[in-house]
């Protein structure tokens, strides 16, 4: 019974903007596309610290955290979110990234535990498809 509920539940996704940049065009488009595709989406708004994002992710019981950043601070902020999740005892929550992120950094960030990174020009459909296939309900 419990198992059944879990598989039928809508995915809950956190779209978050860590750091100080205000470029939210992409994050908002993705949030809306995911909502239109039938997922539950929580959008944090801008200027979030890793602490704020981790606390929202835990309180909202989300199934994935999707981080968007376009200021160049991804090498610090993405791993920091993952580290703070771990410190809070959350080790099975997928973290996905997007933004202006050079390829060398993509490799390093994936090693640090980021599941996937989406760059400029990625279609909404590709992201919706990825989430639908790779993210599973955690509860």
């Amino acid at each position: 019974m419990k198992r059944d509920l879990k598989s039928k539940r809508k995915l809950r996704l956190l779209v978050a903007k860590p750091g100080l940049d205000g470029h939210d065009r992409g994050a908002k488009i993705i949030a809306r596309a995911l909502r239109d595709a039938g997922f539950e989406v929580i959008y944090t708004g801008l200027h979030q610290t890793p602490e704020m994002i981790v606390s929202t992710a835990i309180q909202e019981d989300v199934d994935a955290v999707m981080l968007s950043i376009l200021s160049g601070a991804h090498n610090f902020l993405f791993p920091e979110v993952i580290k703070q999740l771990k410190d809070a005892g959350v080790t099975d929550l997928p973290v996905i990234g997007g933004g202006i992120i050079p390829e060398d950094d993509v490799r390093e960030l994936k090693k640090a535990g980021v599941l996937e990174i989406f760059g400029p020009g990625t279609s909404m459909q590709d992201i919706v498809k990825f989430v639908g296939e790779k993210i599973k309900p955690r509860y």
């Binding site: 779209v15 100080l20 940049d21 939210d24 908002k28 708004g45 200021s71 400029p120």
Partner: protein, 530 residues
């Protein structure tokens, strides 16, 4: 038989098969078009335009520590540049010092780190501020950075009436689009009018606000929305100046504009022509400005960053060329051209040089500067100019009915309009209704990534150390007293500029000043709608 059922601009304005004199109003030449250098300035603000003076090639730059950017500035000045354009890093834009936890990972990444007067002194070390003009892209804390700049001038023995430059200082478009806001709209508008009032009286060569459509368009607006919201912001600033008792002609000549130049060539040219005409009419008819300089819209342009693709990045040179051509044929006063690799990182020196050369080729080889407004009188361009003006005026009327732009922002109106336009455009791209070469048309598989500029973490360590050192070595009693005065001033209605000057001169940091203002003004929070 046409290949499509409807032809539109990139902003979805329908375009006819053919335009003839019947598409223009009667008396169009006399009333709508006129002559360059004459009201309503549709054809340009100077009678001889680029035959008299070419546009300024102003490339925006800055990263790392003030020491590094100072070296870069000196290099540029030695190579004949007379104007500087400063890009600040995000912590400065948002009012955090480099040693704040909020700045971790961001120091020196997207611009130069400026925390205090010490950094500003280093940034302009050996650069006489009466010989250069400096443009500073700074908004929420613009008044404080201006105070630091003036304090450097004072130390150089230069009087404020000899100091020239620009601060962006356009807070309204921050709520609408760029989102580097700190305080709520009303106290932010007070900071703007404090700058207007102070500069009008004490720094007469300073350009006080660069009213910006650029960020509005980059956030996903249409050309019409960019035109309408930017001019509505301009109206709000002029009204705010009048409301604090300034005479319109005392400050309006020091307002300038900043436009985004996207791919749709004729729509962009028409937008710039419409913008000039609208502003001239608004200033003359609505605000009763008599000085012709108050009616003249001067503007900077930048090619559209959001139009660039990470796919087949060399194609971006072609996009930028088309956009730069539109800016020139639209009569811009200065221009920044983007580099081909900016969807990956800050540009390399080589890609910046190609971007600069693009402007130089247009100027020196294409021949488009030989005559003034060569597109003027085209039935299509004039009809499209009229259409953009008509549609933008509808938005401005709606904003007026809401009680002006500050009220419209408080209701979330312009943000919601932009969000809708941006989502619609993305859907059109994904359905193939709008084409982007390399994205949904002429796609290549397995492209190699270009060489890009890397910025190390060294500047972050160095800058944090400098700011910590400063906080220990300065006279902290004086800092405390300056902040107490400032807090009292912010609670009242005195002009804060002199208090900012007092505070920065004793090396109070930007972060400390902003924190004090937050205690009085509060903070603006993202409504986080999508």
């Amino acid at each position: 038989m046409d290949i499509k059922s409807q032809f539109t601009t990139i902003s979805d304005l329908p375009i006819n098969e053919l335009y003839t004199p019947d598409d223009l109003p009667k008396d169009a030449y006399k009333k709508e078009i006129g002559l360059p250098g004459k009201y309503p300035f549709t054809r340009g603000i100077h009678p001889n335009m680029y035959r008299g003076r070419t546009w300024t090639k102003r490339m925006f730059a800055g990263f790392g520590t003030p020491e590094e950017t100072n070296k870069r500035f000196k290099y540029l000045l030695e190579h004949g540049q007379t104007g500087l354009s400063v890009a600040f890093h995000f912590p400065t834009l948002m009012g955090w010092d480099s040693d704040s936890p909020r700045a971790r990972g961001e120091v020196g990444k997207c611009g130069v780190a400026i925390d205090s007067l010490r950094d500003m002194e280093v940034l302009f070390d050996g650069i006489p501020l009466d010989k250069v003009t400096t443009s500073m892209t700074i908004n929420s804390p613009a008044a404080i950075l201006l105070a630091m700049y003036l304090a450097v001038a004072e130390k150089q023995g230069i009087s404020f009436d000899k100091v020239g430059g620009t601060i962006q200082n356009d807070i309204l478009k921050e709520y609408i689009a760029q989102k580097t806001y700190i305080f709520p709209p009303k106290p932010s508008m007070r900071l703007i009018t404090d700058v207007l009032d102070y500069c009008t009286k004490s720094v007469p060569r300073w350009n006080t606000i660069s009213i910006s459509g650029y960020h509005i368009r980059e956030a996903g607006s249409t050309a019409i929305q960019e035109l309408a919201f930017t001019i509505a912001d301009g109206i709000a600033y002029v009204q705010a100046g009048l409301d604090v008792g300034l005479d319109v002609d005392s400050f309006a000549p020091r307002l300038s504009f900043f436009w985004d130049i996207h791919n749709d060539f004729f729509e962009e040219v028409a937008k710039l022509r419409a913008a000039r005409r609208m502003w001239a009419r608004i200033m003359k008819e609505r605000f009763k400005a008599k000085d012709v300089r108050s009616q003249m819209m001067r503007f900077h342009s930048q090619t559209a960053g959001c139009s660039l693709t990470a796919q087949q990045p060399v194609n971006n040179v072609v996009r930028t060329t088309i956009q730069a051509m539109a800016a020139v044929l639209g009569g811009t006063q200065s221009l920044h051209t983007n580099s081909l690799d900016e969807t990956y990182a800050l540009p390399t020196e080589e890609s910046v040089r190609i971007a600069l050369r693009t402007q130089q080729i247009i100027e020196e080889e294409s021949g488009v500067t030989n005559t003034v407004d060569p597109l003027g009188g085209s039935y299509f361009v004039e009809a499209l100019t009229d259409k953009l003006e008509e549609e933008a005026l509808k938005y401005i009327k709606k904003i007026d009915e809401m009680g002006g732009m500050v009220s419209a922002i408080e209701r979330g109106f312009p943000m919601a309009e932009i969000q809708r336009a941006s989502y619609r455009y993305q859907q059109q791209v994904e359905k193939g209704e709008k084409k982007i070469v390399g994205i949904n048309s002429h796609v290549l598989k397995d492209e190699p990534a270009p060489e890009i500029l890397r910025i190390s973490d060294e500047p972050e360590r160095k800058q944090i150390e400098e700011t910590r050192k400063l906080k220990q070595s300065r006279d902290n009693e004086k800092v405390k007293a300056a902040l107490a005065h400032l807090k009292k001033g912010a609670n009242g209605d005195t002009n804060l500029m002199p208090l900012f000057l007092d505070a920065v001169k004793v090396y109070t940091t930007l972060g400390e000043i902003v924190a004090t203002l937050k205690e009085v003004f509060g903070e603006y929070r993202d409504p986080a709608t999508y």
